[in-house]
Amino acid sequence: MDDKKTAWERLQLVHTKGRPTIRDYIPLIFTDFYEMHGDRHFGDDHAIIGGIARLDDRPVTIIGQVKGRDINENKACNFAMPLPEGYRKALRLAKQAEKFHRPVICFIDTPGAYAGMAAEERGQGEAIAKNIAEFMRLRTPVISIVLGEGGSGGALALGVCDELAMLENAQYSVVSPRGFASILWKDASREEEACNIMKITAEDMVRLGVAETIIQEPLGGAHNDLDKISENIKEYLSLKIAEKCEKDIDELLKERYTKFRKIGEFTE
């Protein structure tokens, strides 16, 4: 692991063409994947993929944001920026998993929720709020992994979990560095400076109590060895899912609440 990489250098890595996406990982980590479509209310958002598969021998539900690997794929998945129906699809699949006692695995990889008129009209705020609240009380284990970008509330909508893991170069932030610079300094060109002071790296997440684990990437980044990074993710998931499935569910929910309840720094 290369400790000397700045947050900005890692952001470039995350944006490297060829960085593996959830579509690359699913066949290498799981078997028997059946994709499920739609939120049963409005439509099927291609920015979110979800379905049932096996991890080792255990049935699990997979939900994640879809990044494209080229411009056409990116157009089709709206650059991994979900609409409300995407979050509602995610919640529908999570509730389905809860009913059948399947653990849920969320893959986070989004610059943020889509900001547009359609999103506002259909209740982007409500959709995200509902996911956060419902995942907090979902009576089945939930593990989330940030694959690349974890942007804002659009990421957190898949991020309320029993444990959060970060890929080594992945980032998690309240807003994109560009947005941060433009909001606080009214100058989007100070993106690099923002990136380096925002505390958005995997190590920052562990230090701030947001993430529990960092999954090592192959030398130079995940794109250099897809088999190896998939193996690392699978190893982590197999271990954690088995561990969480053994726990009493009420105990697990209490711990999940506490995980988020204790994040914050204040004096009184």
Partner: protein, 284 residues
Amino acid sequence: MGERLENFFGVVKKRFNGYNEEDNRETVKCPRCQSLILLERYEELHRVCPNCNYHGRLSTPERIEITFDKNSFNELDRDMVSCDPIEFPDYGDKQQELRDKTGLHDAITTGTATIRGVETVVGIMDSRYMMGSMGSVVGEKIARAFEYAAEKGLPVIMFTASGGARMQEGIVSLMQMAKTSGAVQLHSEAGGLYITVLTDPTTGGVTASFASLGDIIIAEPKVLIGFAGRRVIESTMRQRLPEDFQLAEFMQDKGFVDMIVERKKMRSTLSHLLKLHGYTPKEV
């Protein structure tokens, strides 16, 4: 003629400076209909525009005064102040400055109060404090308020006003969305009533967490409610947005607000809703 022309320009000039020409009384400009209102009159109307009914931003003491029974408000966690989790430049100084200027300790004040004798837990956000943004203190106070209400069997009323997550606290502020939403759920599972009153403006991470989770969602007329900012949508998506986009009336029409209630009817509406849910006046 020359004199009249001069007067005319005098009026215009004085109006642009925020003064009424005749008696130099201060005026305010309504952000919705742009009409000029005498400040005195605006304050008399509790900051409601007499022309278009836009419900303007109230300070926390004003909100307490017009909503709750006299002297019934008891503040909780008053002395809580935020640290600096991502060591953001000048964050501490900026907060001290705002504390001195507003008398607030952060963007929310929580406590208990009665409305026509019925006891409730309340939270009041104030846009004067860093645009009502949610950081560690806002998150913690809200979580404690819901936990306290769940324990005591009390309802919760939240008056929201926020630009969203507090950027200066980085990812820690994002996590307050999960913390507050989790606490809302615990209170809800205990059977408690939660009423949200969306005031100007309610946006970003607050809309995407506890503000959207009320059993009943009320909004004041013409206030701004949304997730993404109008300018962000317009600039990045190159879409022209309708005039009423993200106003309370638009959000009610789209199905995200139960009712729009005018300020002068807020106290009686809240009182009736509490009573309809079986909460009764405290025995004295």
